[in-house]
């Protein structure tokens, strides 16, 4: 089962502390590949805490680990991820003449993946 949702890459406190250790260190790689998702949405998609999901759009795709958030904190259909190498895979290079690529509110297809189909 796959659904289209809105991905919002942004800063997080954990990302901020992890990047001081180094962007190639496990802490940073972990925090930038953890996707926050509305827990009702997770249930609907048959996802459990720690499951792998594939995010894809016409630009590219990435596989991240999902983590539930209470519906009152994260609305249905919205995904949050600390920005980093995985979210870059989904960003278009077109800046519409501004210099700024659309880096938030990126429409992505979300689907559960198993080890077999990664």
């Amino acid at each position: 089962m796959a659904e289209t949702m809105i991905l919002v890459p942004g800063r997080s406190s954990k990302q901020g502390t992890a990047l001081n250790k180094g962007k190639l260190k496990p802490e940073y790689l972990l925090v930038t590949s953890t996707l926050e998702m509305n827990s009702d949405d997770m249930q609907r998609l048959g996802l459990e805490e720690g499951d792998s999901v594939r995010l894809s759009n016409e630009v590219g795709e990435t596989v991240v680990t999902c983590k539930g958030r209470k519906p009152e904190d994260l609305p249905s259909g919205i995904l949050f991820i600390a920005y980093g190498p995985p979210s870059s895979q989904l960003m278009d290079g077109d800046t519409a003449g501004t210099g700024m690529p659309i880096s938030k509110n990126i429409e992505v297809l979300v689907e559960k993946v198993t080890v077999k189909n990664i």
Partner: protein, 449 residues
């Protein structure tokens, strides 16, 4: 911990644009590390604790250790040989280093851009189009009784913004601190900043412009149809209540983050919040300010502006500076494949840029200056390891409200600082360019400014 301890008072944290200059650092001089950072937030504590002395070489070419001089020579040759060299980054280094980078761009007739282009670059465009009713953070601390954050999450990105300047501190005209202020947060999700606010307004993704424009209409006394709620997720009653708060405060401030600049609308969103601020000055005193991310990204805007006339995305190809976001900004010069050499200073675009831009970086010679190993330094043809500003070197940085702050260093590093490397590169590129033009300069005769 050794017994060789030094206390550095009034040190500056450059992790974020708050640039808190009230740090008290306890430094172990034998172990060359900071063991305590009094007054620092969670991000600042990590910044000071994790910037120790690394074990990688000062300079590498294609992954092999070389002398600093060899790397400088290779960098200069690469930049001078290129037809469309770009320089990018600069938001995590001193103004003194930024100044050298601008000079290099000028000499090689290259393009210089900063991380502003992918954070508040759209706000920079809006400043030029609309204008900014602005202030210093000291004014906010002493006067603001209504504080609105829009599209930003300072609890995660700028933790001391609340406690040092905007929410809890007592000020000259805000004697009771938090009790005298109303705090509003506008965002598309309930972030960790929400508990700080008296009022949280949740907007549908991509509808900030519509909400801002509706607020402008209400401020001007126009009618808004209740269907605004269906469109934006915010009820007319909520908007009317916010307008009432804004018109009746004594000193209001609108801080805004990348929720506005990184989404559809970009500079129109920033322009809308600036226009709303201007409109409100018909009723009361209202100001606005983008919340800036990196420690000296504001300095980068300032240095480029006073040296070239423009804040980012500047090209010297014709021998004089030209500004054109979309043409001379780095995501564009890389994504289109224009750049044939790139120097990245204190920045890691290979980690955060769009995929197509990263793919192009892998095809051209890249020079990297950074304090730590990154995705960018890993793909670099020439990689310099440099010392950390504000920890190993002094110099000047600009706080997010354009206030310059002088830093003091905590302990020495065996690594050179960005300014030293860039000054040497500047000198060498100038010699190479003069040689190319057939200009002979005797040693000691001319001095590169």
């Amino acid at each position: 911990m050794s017994e060789n301890i030094k206390i550095v008072k009034n040190a500056t944290c450059t992790f974020c644009g708050c640039v808190c200059d009230d740090m008290e650092l306890t430094v172990d001089l034998d172990e060359k590390r900071i063991i305590k950072a009094k007054n620092a937030c969670v991000l600042g504590r990590a910044w000071f604790a994790e910037h120790t002395i690394g074990d990688w070489p000062v300079a590498m070419i294609d992954g092999k250790e070389v002398s600093k001089e060899e790397a400088i020579e290779e960098t200069a040759q690469t930049l001078v040989k290129a037809k469309f060299p770009i320089i990018y980054g600069l938001s995590d280094t001193t103004c003194e280093a930024q100044r050298q980078a601008v000079a290099i761009s000028d000499i090689i007739r290259g393009t210089i851009d900063t991380t502003t282009s992918v954070c508040h670059g759209p706000s920079g465009l809006a400043f030029q189009g609309v204008g900014e009713s602005t202030m210093s953070l000291g004014e906010v601390k002493n006067r603001a009784d209504l504080v609105i954050y829009w599209g930003g999450n300072p609890a995660a990105s700028h933790p001391r913004h609340f406690t040092r300047y905007t929410v809890t501190p007592k000020g000259m005209f805000i004697p009771n601190g938090r009790k005298d202020r109303t705090v509003v947060l506008v965002d598309i999700r309930k972030t960790p900043s929400a508990p700080v606010a008296d009022l949280f307004i949740q907007v549908k993704p991509g509808k900030d412009f519509e909400v801002l424009w509706a607020l402008r209409a209400l401020v001007k006394g126009k009618n808004i149809d209740p269907s605004i709620e269906e469109e934006t997720g915010v009820s007319l009653a909520t908007l009317e209540d916010l307008v009432d708060k804004m018109k009746n405060c004594r000193y209001g401030v609108l801080f805004f983050g990348m929720g506005l600049t990184m989404t559809r609308g970009r500079h129109f969103n920033s322009g809308a919040i600036m226009a709303l601020t201007t409109d409100l000055n018909e009723f009361t005193h209202f100001v606005t300010k983008p919340v800036r991310g990196h420690g000296n990204v504001t300095g980068a805007d300032n240095v480029l502006s006073w040296q070239t006339g423009y804040p980012f995305g500047v090209n010297f190809n014709r021998g004089y500076p030209r500004f054109n976001p979309g043409e001379f900004t780095t995501v564009d010069t890389l994504s289109r494949g224009d750049a044939d050499a790139a120097m990245f200073i204190a920045s890691d675009p290979a980690s955060n840029f769009p995929k197509v831009a990263i793919e192009h970086m892998k095809k051209i010679p890249v020079i990297s200056l950074d304090t730590k190993q990154t995705e960018t330094s890993n793909l670099a043809h020439v990689a310099f390891a440099t010392s950390t500003y504000g920890i190993n070197t002094g110099g000047t940085v600009y706080r997010m409200d354009d206030v310059p702050i002088t830093m003091r260093s905590a302990f020495d590093s065996p690594y050179p600082d960005d300014e030293e490397i860039l000054t040497a590169i500047k000198k060498r590129v100038q010699e190479l360019v003069w040689a190319k033009q057939g200009i002979k300069i005797a040693v000691g005769e001319a001095r590169v400014a």
